[in-house]
């Protein structure tokens, strides 16, 4: 309105006090009455009676005098309220302006603080994002996830207890119908290696899941489009070929076309009708992405003929929604009782099995998922980094507050209130925190992407790296950091000894303050040492893991698998021709692959470490039976010529297979050294016989041992090397699944992969899919914990070290500047420059040393928590501990060297003259 723009400034413009004493009630009444009287007299003068005039006057006043008085007061109150609010905002604006001005004067320090905090806040925001999904929220779209549990079985065998989560259909049926603790039970089975989707050259592998129809209602998820499948479609007698596709596949392959409902898609070798689309990022009870959901009954037909009755076949994972008010113990006991009473057989293993329910965040082996453990550690480590960053920033702000003692004393002397002053300084640190949050969100974004892509792959992250929850937590952290780092300096600064400060100027350090600063420096050093030691321990573990001789060179070997449409069942005798044809396809593939320029060598095998292993009936002269050994095996592999050359496995004795070793030639074998030592108790076993077959009754053919090769691990990098024996490809029986092995020339892996793929498809166009991966890719998941630990701790350790070093540097610089006068006096009195350097260095190194000592105590104490995560490394590894301590001390010397040298160059005359 018209008066609006002016109103605001006037009072402040003229510095009018806010608490203008409002007109007293009596005075206001007197004024109103005088108006009333004047009006009444006016009306009387116009000829009214006194009574009439009075009534008319009251009317003109706008009602009773009480009403008018009340209105007056109300409007005065409202005005006052508005002004107070406006003042508050104006003060805030002033505070921020003041803070900005102050920080501008100290750009270097301000930018250092912002960067430090940004790293701390960003890293923590990113870790929260991961922890939120893995620890707090669990898989997307599950209604009330805390009551959804996985079911585990623990079997009490002669070799100890084993916990697993695989069940047969009978167990699912039993839990569903013969328990009273569960509101619902459902089964699922995720095929993470993938099913082919589409046909021909366009075929891709997609992760699929087979689920019982009741899984969707159990989880409480609703389809995005269409419907989920029904009990009838999932019935064991007549399962239907229906599929619910995932949102991601719907987008990728169908461009969100709702006409997808009712269409047929090809999965594996069968056509399925799409009946629905699952909501965005629905991953079932687990976190790995799934692109298509099919009926469990359909999937189960391939297990065995008696799949609805069998106890031995176990391919289902079970989830249950526990009824409200039923404890985990009650549910577990209920499940155990139902399971045992349902089992009618004689196997004691089943009769004594214990069942229990555990949260969804647990992995298939019944333990907390690796990812979850990793995230716990990540969160811990990043919180430590944040603490270091905070103590550093608090330190810098303290130093700054001390430097401003005189300025603040002047402000107090001029009448600035203590509260106002505290607020002023807090505004400064909150402003820094706010700036840091902006930068921190960028850090969080980058860190999250690193985390998701590299450190915790294989999880379907439903939201962008920064979602509202992460944003909220970042802001909360920033707020806490701002208060935490600003409060001490603010309180300290706002209560200085006024006269002393005014007199001393910026010279005096203040004993209490420097003690607090010292404590902060020491805690930084201690925490940095903890992270550095952690880094050292994990790097050492990783090195030890890497140094393990697996018996072959996994990063040099490309495994090429093919998938055929299952149109011709291979067990069908009529398909014998097909078997022979495929055999010749592989033979042709290996022959031509070896001619490729990018390929060093190539071979074929059935049974490969970290891929597949086979056991056969085995008889060895001198042994009545084959007992259980600590080492895995004996495993049998059927391999083509050049297998050992391709894998890089050393031949210790004898020969490898040649083209002359084939079906129909003399049965021969090659054994691993572990096998030779176990069964013949010596290394030289050439010419010995071993007998193997698919059945116990036909162990009559001697396979003469023609070679001994180095040991190879079968499945685990932590386990003992397996006992292996190899037979020529073509002589194997009852084993299947040939893979092509290619050893590319160094540096030409990509080229080799591409050429081999097209080579295989050109030899046999009927192949539906070619899968290529290095052996290393199968091993990587086992190395991941150490790689992850090493990466995270190293990253954070270096970060902490840099932050601590810069903090030490700036504090020492500041201290030297403070003591310029003292140093000047010393120099004037004849002190040697060297002793001045020593003086400064002693100060910083002694703080670092105390920090290191405290850090070592923490490390020794915390060692037992980290020990299970290390590989072949003691948490008290002397080399690592001493290395960490030495690094920290060296860095503290380096960080204070520049200030110390600056102290040496102090000009005594100028130092004494100034101030």
């Amino acid at each position: 309105m018209i008066a609006a723009p002016f109103r605001q400034g006037v009072r402040r413009l003229f510095r009018l006090a806010l608490h203008l004493r409002r007109l007293g009630r009596a005075d206001a009444r007197a004024e109103l009455e005088s108006v009333l009287d004047a009006r009444t007299e006016q009306f009387i003068a116009l000829g009214m009676s006194r009574a009439e005039a009075r009534i008319e006057a009251v009317h003109r006043l706008g009602g009773s005098i009480e009403q008018a008085l009340h209105d007056l007061e109300r409007s005065a109150e409202r005005r006052e309220e508005r002004m107070r609010l406006r003042d508050l905002f104006d003060d805030l604006r002033d505070d921020i302006r003041f803070a900005v001005r102050g920080l501008r004067r100290d750009k270097v320090m301000a930018s250092f603080i912002v960067v430090t905090l940004a790293l701390g806040i960003g890293a923590n925001a990113a870790m929260f994002g991961a922890a939120d999904r893995l620890l707090l929220r669990g898989p997307e779209h599950i209604v009330d996830p805390s009551s959804v549990m996985r079911i585990y079985s623990t079997r009490h065998g002669p070799n100890g207890d084993g916990t697993g989560s695989s069940f047969g259909w009978v167990s699912y049926d039993t839990f569903k119908h013969a328990t009273h603790s569960f509101a619902a039970v459902a089964a699922y089975s995720v095929n993470s290696s993938g099913t082919t989707f589409g046909t021909g050259a366009d075929a891709v592998l997609i992760p699929t899941g087979a689920v019982t129809y009741d899984l969707f209602p159990l989880l409480g998820v609703r389809p995005l489009l269409g419907r989920f499948f029904t009990a009838a479609e999932d019935s064991p007698d007549a399962p239907q070929h229906v599929v619910v596709i995932g949102d991601a596949l719907w987008v990728r392959a169908f461009g969100r076309d709702s006409a997808v409902l009712g269409r047929k898609i090809r999965l594996g070798d069968e056509d399925y009708t799409v009946v629905g689309v699952a909501p965005h990022s629905f991953t079932g009870p687990q976190l790995a992405p799934v692109d298509a959901w099919t009926p469990m009954a359909l999937r189960s037909r391939g297990i065995t003929d008696r799949w609805t009755k069998s106890w031995n076949a176990q391919w289902l994972r079970l989830v249950a929604r526990v009824k409200t008010g039923v404890s985990r113990e009650q549910a577990s006991a209920d499940a155990t009782a139902a399971y045992r009473s349902a089992y009618a057989g004689n196997d004691p293993l089943f009769k004594t099995t214990t069942l229990d329910v555990r949260p969804l965040s647990f992995a298939n082996n019944g333990r907390e998922a690796t990812e979850v453990t990793i995230v716990r550690w990540l969160v811990g480590v990043t919180v430590v980094v944040l603490l270091i960053a905070c103590s550093n920033v608090a330190n810098l702000l303290l130093a700054r507050a001390v430097r401003r003692r005189r300025e603040i004393a002047v402000r107090i002397a001029l009448g600035a209130g203590r509260g106002r002053l505290t607020r002023l300084l807090l505004t400064e640190s909150l402003l820094l925190a706010a700036l840091a949050t902006f930068a921190g969100l960028a850090v969080a974004w980058a860190t999250s992407i690193l985390l998701r892509r590299v450190l915790i792959p294989g999880i379907d992250w439903p939201s962008a790296p920064i979602d509202p929850r992460v944003l909220g937590v970042s802001l909360a952290i920033a707020m806490a950091v701002g208060l935490l780092t600003g409060l001490a300096p603010a309180l300290r600064a706002s209560s200085p000894d006024l006269t002393a400060s005014l007199k001393a100027g910026a010279r005096d350090g203040g004993g209490q303050t420097s003690r607090l600063r010292g404590a902060l420096m020491i805690s930084q050093a201690a925490l940095s040492l903890v992270l550095l030691t952690g880094a050292g321990l994990f790097v050492r573990s990783l090195m030890r893991v890497r140094a393990i001789d697996l018996g072959f060179e996994p990063d040099r070997v490309l495994v090429v698998g093919v998938r055929y449409p299952a149109a011709a069942r291979l067990s069908d005798p009529r398909a014998a021709g097909e078997v022979a044809r495929r055999r010749s396809v592989f033979a042709e593939a290996v022959r031509r692959a070896r001619q490729l320029p990018a390929v060093e060598d190539a071979s074929l095998s059935v049974g490969l470490p970290f891929e597949s292993s086979f056991g056969q009936e085995l008889r060895i002269p001198g042994w009545d039976s084959i007992p259980e050994f600590k080492a895995p095996g004996p495993h049998i592999s059927a391999v083509a010529p050049n297998y050992f050359e391709t894998l890089g496995t050393r031949l210790l004795e004898g020969r490898t297979f040649t083209a002359a070793d084939r079906d129909g030639s003399e049965p021969v074998a090659i054994v691993s050294r572990a096998m030779a030592r176990t069964f013949w108790h010596r290394d030289h076993v050439l010419g010995e016989c071993l007998y193997w077959s698919t059945s116990k009754d036909s162990l009559t053919t001697c396979s003469r041992i023609v070679g001994v090769v180095a040991d190879a691990h079968a499945w685990g990098i932590k386990e003992l090397p397996a006992m292996n024996y190899y037979v020529p490809l073509g002589q194997e029986r009852g084993m299947g699944g040939t893979v092509l092995l290619v050893r590319p020339k160094p540096g030409r892996e990509v080229e080799a992969t591409r050429m081999v793929r097209s080579l295989v498809l050109s030899i046999d166009p009927s192949i539906s899919f070619v899968n290529t991966a290095t052996m290393q890719q199968s091993i990587d998941p086992q190395v991941r914990p150490w790689r992850l630990g090493a990466a995270v701790f190293t990253l954070m350790g270096v970060l902490a070290l840099v932050v601590a070093a810069v903090g030490l540097y700036s504090v020492m610089s500041y201290l030297v500047a403070q003591r310029t006068r003292e140093i000047g006096v010393r120099l004037a009195l004849g002190a040697q420059a060297r002793s001045i350097v020593f003086l400064v260095l002693r100060n910083s190194v002694s703080m670092a040393a105390v920090g290191v000592a405290i850090g070592l105590v923490i490390v020794l104490w915390a060692g037992r928590f980290i020990a299970p995560l290390l590989f072949d490394t003691s948490p008290r590894d002397m080399g690592v501990l001493l290395g960490g301590a030495a690094t920290l001390l060296a860095v503290s010397v380096l960080a204070s060297a520049v200030p110390a040298l600056r102290a040496k160059r102090v000009n005594p005359i100028e130092a004494l003259r100034s101030d």
């Binding site: 009018l16 007109l23 007197a30």
Partner: protein
């Protein structure tokens, strides 16, 4: 028609520009000038001067009227004079514009 708050402020300031007055003097002065056409309750005037007093546009002092009564006398401050200058001009332009529009005799097309 009710008066806008800011408009009433300007009118009262204008009145006070002739010299210090008490509430009823202001009221009767404005009534006389407007021919009694300002439909404003007397209490609203009192509220208006109080408001402006708090904002520092006017100051007040108890004094004695011609009839020997006690009354608060209001006087313009420098800020009030400045306010009257700028806002008064804006108001007359505003009123002028409205008057022009309302006085239009044809659609002007």
């Amino acid at each position: 028609m009710p008066l806008l708050k800011g408009t009433l402020d300007i009118l009262v300031l204008k009145t006070l520009s002739w010299g210090p007055m008490h509430a009823f003097e202001i009221i009767s002065w404005l009534e006389a000038r407007s021919g009694g056409r300002l439909a404003v309750a007397d209490a609203a005037f009192v509220q208006c001067v109080h408001r402006m007093e708090e904002r520092g546009l006017v100051t007040a002092q108890w004094g004695t009227t011609k009839n020997d009564r006690q009354a608060r006398y209001y006087r313009l401050t420098a800020a009030g004079r400045a306010h009257l200058g700028t806002e008064g001009r804006a108001l007359s332009e505003h009123v002028d514009a409205i008057a022009t529009v309302l006085a239009a005799k044809n659609a002007g097309r």
